[in-house]
């Protein structure tokens, strides 16, 4: 017991499990617009939480409030039980914003940018240790950007830039990781890689809050969800919270809802229907004749079907 108290005193953060507590958060921007009102939710360690809502529902605002970049007009945020400023100075939280507002002509290489993630671990002269270099290598490896480490930061594609900033957040080793739409503009391979990465971090006890418009992948990797529309509409475990009813409440009329069934889908009389709900991205749905066939064959079937439909249209 005594021992634990000691550790708590020396490095308060080390002993604390990851947690985010948002209490009655209200954020009003200087122009008088209240983007978020009375939002509350709580998250614990070893979890990936999706933050879901329409454009302008206040997702980024919640992130900014958690980082202390906007001052709440009411309510408060605590990270690992600490006030925001303290949590940040203890390097507990890493944040990847929706879009990076940096000077792309700045003379820094990819590896230099990722090294910035280690600054919080260095002494005041910021001289990287062997461990810091190792962590940078590891982070670059994890987002599959090692081959580009000597490139100047502006000489990358949009998705590659995003991956570099993700690597920087990983190198930071915060126990709370905030990702504001990490999957927009990212190809499927990288998205899968990132999701696997997040799962590993969850195993290690990290807490991740991820905003996304990719509703399809939410049940896939998120164990918690927070549904947002200028306030928290619902929050809790994915299984009980991420329901059609709640989603319809969150998205109002904006949601695309494709219902497919009966003869529109197949020729026999199967009563089952497919319900496709999507937010901003239009799903690509192939409905091949024989789903067991190889992928290629399936695609060709789909093409045939489309061609047939077009014929029918004319």
């Amino acid at each position: 017991m005594m021992n634990r108290l000691d550790t708590v005193k020396r490095g308060e953060a080390v002993a604390r499990p990851a947690s985010i507590a948002v209490n009655d958060l209200t954020v009003t921007y200087p122009n008088g617009f209240t983007a978020v009102r009375d939002a509350s939710f709580e998250l614990g360690p070893g979890s990936i939480c999706a933050l879901v809502g329409v454009n302008g529902s206040g997702k980024s605002t919640v992130f900014k409030a958690i980082m202390g970049f906007v001052t709440p007009t009411a309510g408060q945020v605590r990270l690992c039980g600490l006030p925001v400023e303290k949590a940040i100075s203890q390097n507990i939280v890493a944040y990847v914003p929706q879009s990076e507002d940096v000077d792309w002509n700045f003379p820094v290489l990819v590896e230099d940018v990722v090294m910035m993630g280690r600054y919080g671990h260095m002494n005041f002269l910021r001289i990287p240790s062997k461990k810091d270099r190792l962590k940078v290598d590891e982070a670059l490896e994890r987002v599959n950007m090692s081959a580009y480490r000597k490139r100047q930061i502006g000489e990358l594609s949009g998705g590659q830039k995003k991956r570099v900033f993700l690597a920087r957040a990983l190198a930071q080793e915060g126990r709370i990781i905030l990702l504001d739409e990490p999957f927009t503009g990212i190809d499927v391979t990288t998205e899968t890689a990132i999701i696997n990465l997040l799962r590993d971090l969850r195993e290690a006890g990290h807490l991740m809050l991820v905003s996304t418009h990719n509703l399809g992948s939410v049940p896939d990797f998120c164990d918690q969800v927070v549904l947002l529309n200028r306030t928290v509409l619902a929050a809790g475990p994915t299984a009980s919270t991420f329901t059609q009813e709640n989603l319809e409440r969150t998205f109002g009329g904006v949601l695309r809802n494709f219902e497919l069934g009966g003869h529109a889908l197949h020729e026999d009389d199967d009563a089952r229907r497919i319900n496709v709900i999507t937010d901003d991205e239009r799903p690509l749905v192939f409905y091949g004749v024989k789903s067991r066939k190889k992928k290629n064959a399936k695609k060709q079937d789909a093409k045939k079907k489309t061609a047939k439909n077009q014929d029918a249209d004319q």
Binding site: F69, N91, L109, Y119, L125
Partner: protein
Amino acid sequence: MSALLAELAVPFTYDYMWKAMWVSALVGAVCAFLSCYLMLKGWSLMGDALGHSIVPGVAGAYIIGAPFAAGAFFAGILAALGMAFVKQHSRLREDATIGLVFTTLFALGLLMASLHPTSVSIQTIVLGNILAIADEDALQVVIIAAASFVVLAFIWKDLMVTFFDETYARGIGLKTRTLKLVFFTLLSACTVAALQTVGACLVIALVVTPGATAYLLTDRFNRLLVIAVAIGTVTSFVGAYLSFFLNGATGGIIVTLQTLIFLAAFYLAPKHGVLAARRKARVARDRALAESKSASVAEAA
């Protein structure tokens, strides 16, 4: 031959020349350090603005017999605050704000100097006169430049992160506002120092050219700093030395040297130079040509 060497060594036999060369080199070095940040942020004209804005402070200090650095510093801070104030409380763009504030202060300085021609020399302030610098003024310059250099050596990385990505810098707990304040304080201090070596009009060159030159030569910030500081130091030292033979106008010579190096880099830089760009375009064109040729040969066969 030996007569020529003896002639060239003459400046080193004078104490005032040693003083001028070392003071210039130190000022050149620290201004070059700052230039790396300034030109990256697109704040180059800020250096010009500060250089002109401190003129009334210097003039005032000479009139009342105070240390020139104190007066200049006071005016510099006033200018910076004035610009920040106008920017925050109007919709004017930054360049208009800077232009407005610095011309006003410069005019005030000229007015003060012309009203007190005995205690202030307009020419010294505007063009600098390092060869005739008084010992106590030289001491002030050395203290300012050396202290700035030490501070920069400690915070250069934090400043780099702040200037590259301010949001992130805040997110890892850096005090970005304090850092920027320190940076501008150092900038005003070094402008004050540079006033003595190259004069108010050419201060801008010292806080822009070395960084701009180095930027053409490297993609890494630490190398940028090393290259810029090397350029700043060497050109200032050599410039002061040459001014012995050319009889004055140290500032003009230093800045000319820096510009020559800039032009060389502009054309010859291995990656970002004009010639390199042409060479790369030519290589790409030749390769495309060769490929289309070999393709047509293959077709014919």
